[in-house]
Symmetry: C2
């Protein structure tokens, strides 16, 4: 700077050219350009711009409350009591809600959810989580010391991937993820500079997982990186399949044989709809396979308050359980999470209620069960409805939605549409979804955001809108698809 | 694996040797070994183990509620209403609380704080934050598009550091941080693999910041990295100083001249106690310096719900404002935060209340002001008390606690104590604090956890315990220091 204070002409310190290159590689389709356009359209509608529809239906994200699902009364009662303990004197609140609130508050510093907690999460919540896992898994023990509360499941997943990322060039950590996948995985892998190893799910067999495909992907990857992690999402996102017990056993055997750390994303564990399907946790199957496996295979599994019947995404509650983690690494993990102080305490408290819900004999039990069952049966009905209606459309073929909250149908696009998309430098299913949004107000995520076999096209659609709205949406979609096909044929 | 299913004998996938090397370098003293020992001692006390004290006093962390501070009534009322909207029919809640709750709920998907929000944070909250900043800064405009809600301030700080970290070897991003510093900075720099550039605060001049020291540190660093960021904490943590307007102007001029991105950690902006001291935001000073600076210098400033008079650490609410950020980078930032979906919604709502608190004429105004003033005057009193009592102890010298929540006194340690610590491979002030904890139950953080000039020793102590308890603690500390000095002389 010269003496008279004039600044030299310089550019910005932080530009797209000079910023973190890994961040640039990050992509997250669930909130990508199509959703940004949807938000814009909503604003235009509010400002009175005429459109061929009256509202945007956001079927792009698993956000139950936004789609009209009501919170579970008991959960919100306890959370209100924890937030404003003066309400503990109010006789409008049931005793079991008050007891839960008192117990949570007693484990908080100064009896306030405004205090920091230990970084691993409130002690009594971690105990309750361990008890829940033990009940869920037929008595297989769970140690509260292995439980870490998290800011949603995403936080836990990124933290474990971070621990696992090391090496350079050919020794760089490779992470096996399914294609299609939930883009948190590809985004975190890109951000951490790890190597993505894609294994394809078998669409023809209801998006099942073939060990031979795992083997193929692994072998190919060993040429250029060091594969160390295998990620599984069960029930599947975006694909809605529920893995059989046999398949899980095979995956565990594969991980053991190939020396892979297992990450099991099990946030949809209550969302199983199809007859004959059942949720099996990786932890349970691992321990049922005997000490040869249960004492060796390293596993981290993830759960959250955001899905299942609660749909409490906004609270960002979650937990992970780590099995067979090296004690030195566990100490490093505890240190690492301490830098962010603690997960949000309201989310921790809510996680506690999910794993410690009203029991038979307690005053809130019946209402709780009624509300829980209503959500889950409506979802089961909508899963079926979605599959049925979509499969009536020529050019759309949809696997059964066995679980989770999404259908991921395959769409046939006319050659001319594909070419027009390519001319616009757009993925063909992005072109399709964008047109759908502009013409009908329906907001879906193109399959290209999740990954798919070359030359196939899909979209992900949540089954969350209320039944009547879902029907209208599916029929609009049907109409649109027929029109689109005609227009480009 | 052999045909009969026997697994080859292999070690773990993830070990301390094979894990992320940057994570191993992370240190976070505020929750380090001394705090772990404190938690252990608390357990021992509960189990009936006899100690020379009855309780552990945790003066290691700025956790107001844990130290007995009561939440602000209005904030918790609104939060309870948002959590359990049935209470909106309850006439026990004041109308202004209900209005705030209704407004927040109307901006949530499905009118529920259980829905995801946009990744940047709820629209109306970002508008309220911008209005708050504008009022605070005497009318200098703030654009809601520049506001990002965060999971506490820590989250925002790490995110901006992440964007800024690039290059390899001599071009690797260097980050200038004060010594002493708040260890979130050193920890994040280590985790990201950036280069820490230490500039020392001037203890003799009440921990003030000298531009010549910034210049020295910068020049030295240019030999081995590419300095791009200058971080400032004002009011200071752990050092409690409040920067003068002149000093801030000099820092901005320095950043402009040296092409540095400024990060201003202003989470203690309401915590100013000393006469003649005043909080000046970097944003305000920057804009008062005229367009030559205000149109050029890149700045991110951070605030949270955790400190000031609210002390709501558990909600993990926060925001950052970015000034002069390249639009392309801003798009990358928005994309990056979208991967984690959104900050916790209760924390967003609470942040809204902090920036949109009761106004004169509203029913809750008087109670709110009474509560707010009570907290802040008690803190001012305790800041003074701490300085006064500590300075009566031979071998302890304490700068005035002008702001924030901590004192960071210098302690003189006898040569023999230093040698004994070194023999144990401990930092001498860690040795001192550990002994203090074992003998008195007082939990402080050694100065070595924050950084200090070679050969000097300190500790950080919060001023948060209730006045009477604080007095007892300070006198115990005095006694201990005298005994310790005697013992090792």
């Amino acid at each position: 700077m010269s003496e008279n204070g004039a600044l030299p002409l310089r550019g910005k310190v932080l530009t797209v050219d000079t910023m973190n290159a890994n961040v640039k590689k990050v992509d997250y389709a669930v909130r990508g350009p199509i959703v940004q356009r949807a938000v814009q359209i909503e604003k235009e509608l509010k400002e009175g711009v005429k459109k061929p529809f009256e509202e945007v239906i956001k079927a792009n994200i698993g956000d139950a409350h936004a789609m009209g699902q009501r919170p579970i009364t008991f959960f919100r009662q306890v959370m209100a009591l924890c937030t404003y303990p003066q309400l503990l004197d109010d006789n409008k609140f049931p005793e079991d809600a008050k007891n839960r609130a008192r117990r949570i508050l007693q484990s908080c510093g100064g009896n306030s959810i405004g205090a920091y907690t230990t970084s691993q999460g409130i002690d009594c919540v971690r105990h309750d989580v361990a008890n829940y896992i033990q009940r869920r898994d037929g008595g297989i023990p769970s140690d509260p010391d292995n439980i870490y509360l998290t800011t949603g499941a995403s936080d836990g997943i990124v933290t474990i991937l971070k621990l696992l990322t090391a090496g350079e060039g050919r020794t760089r950590t490779g992470v096996m993820i399914s294609i299609p996948q939930y883009p948190l995985y590809s985004a975190s892998i890109a951000e951490l500079g790890a190597v993505q190893i894609s294994y394809y799910l078998n669409e023809e067999k209801c998006w099942s997982l073939d060990i031979s495909e795992l083997q193929r992907a692994l072998q190919a990857a060993r040429e250029h990186c060091s594969p160390r992690v295998l990620c599984i999402i069960n029930p599947g996102n975006p694909t809605g399949q529920v893995q059989s017990r046999q398949c899980i056993e095979d995956v565990i055997r594969f991980a053991a044989k190939e020396n892979l750390f297992l990450m099991a994303d099990e946030v949809y564990q209550d969302n199983v709809y199809a007859e004959g399907c059942e949720f099996h946790s990786f932890k349970k199957v691992l321990f049922e396979m005997g000490p040869e496996y249960s004492s060796k295979v390293e596993l981290a599994s993830f759960h959250s308050t955001s899905k299942c019947y609660m749909g409490e995404c906004g609270f960002r509650g979650g937990y992970m359980e780590v099995i067979n983690m090296d004690p030195g690494v566990k100490a490093q993990l505890t240190k690492l999470v301490s830098v962010r102080l603690c997960p949000p305490v309201p989310g921790q408290a809510l996680m506690d209620l999910v794993v410690n819900s009203p029991q038979p004999g307690e005053p809130s039990y019946q209402t709780f069960m009624k509300e829980r069952t209503a959500v889950l049966s409506a979802l089961a009905e909508k899963a079926k409805l979605t599959e049925e209606i979509l499969n009536t459309v020529p050019g759309i073929s949809c696997n059964p939605v066995q679980g989770a909250m999404y259908s991921f149908p395959r769409i046939t696009l006319p050659e001319r549409a594909i070419n027009e998309a390519k001319a616009k430098d757009q993925a063909p299913d992005m072109f399709y979804c964008m047109k759908l949004l502009e013409e009908t107000g329906i907001c879906l995520v193109p399959g290209s955001g999740f990954g798919q076999r070359e030359g196939t096209y899909h979209f992900r659609m949540t089954i969350l809108p209320p039944t009547e709205k879902l029907k209208i949406m599916l029929n609009k979609l049907k109409e649109f698809h027929q029109k689109f096909t005609q227009q480009y044929s």
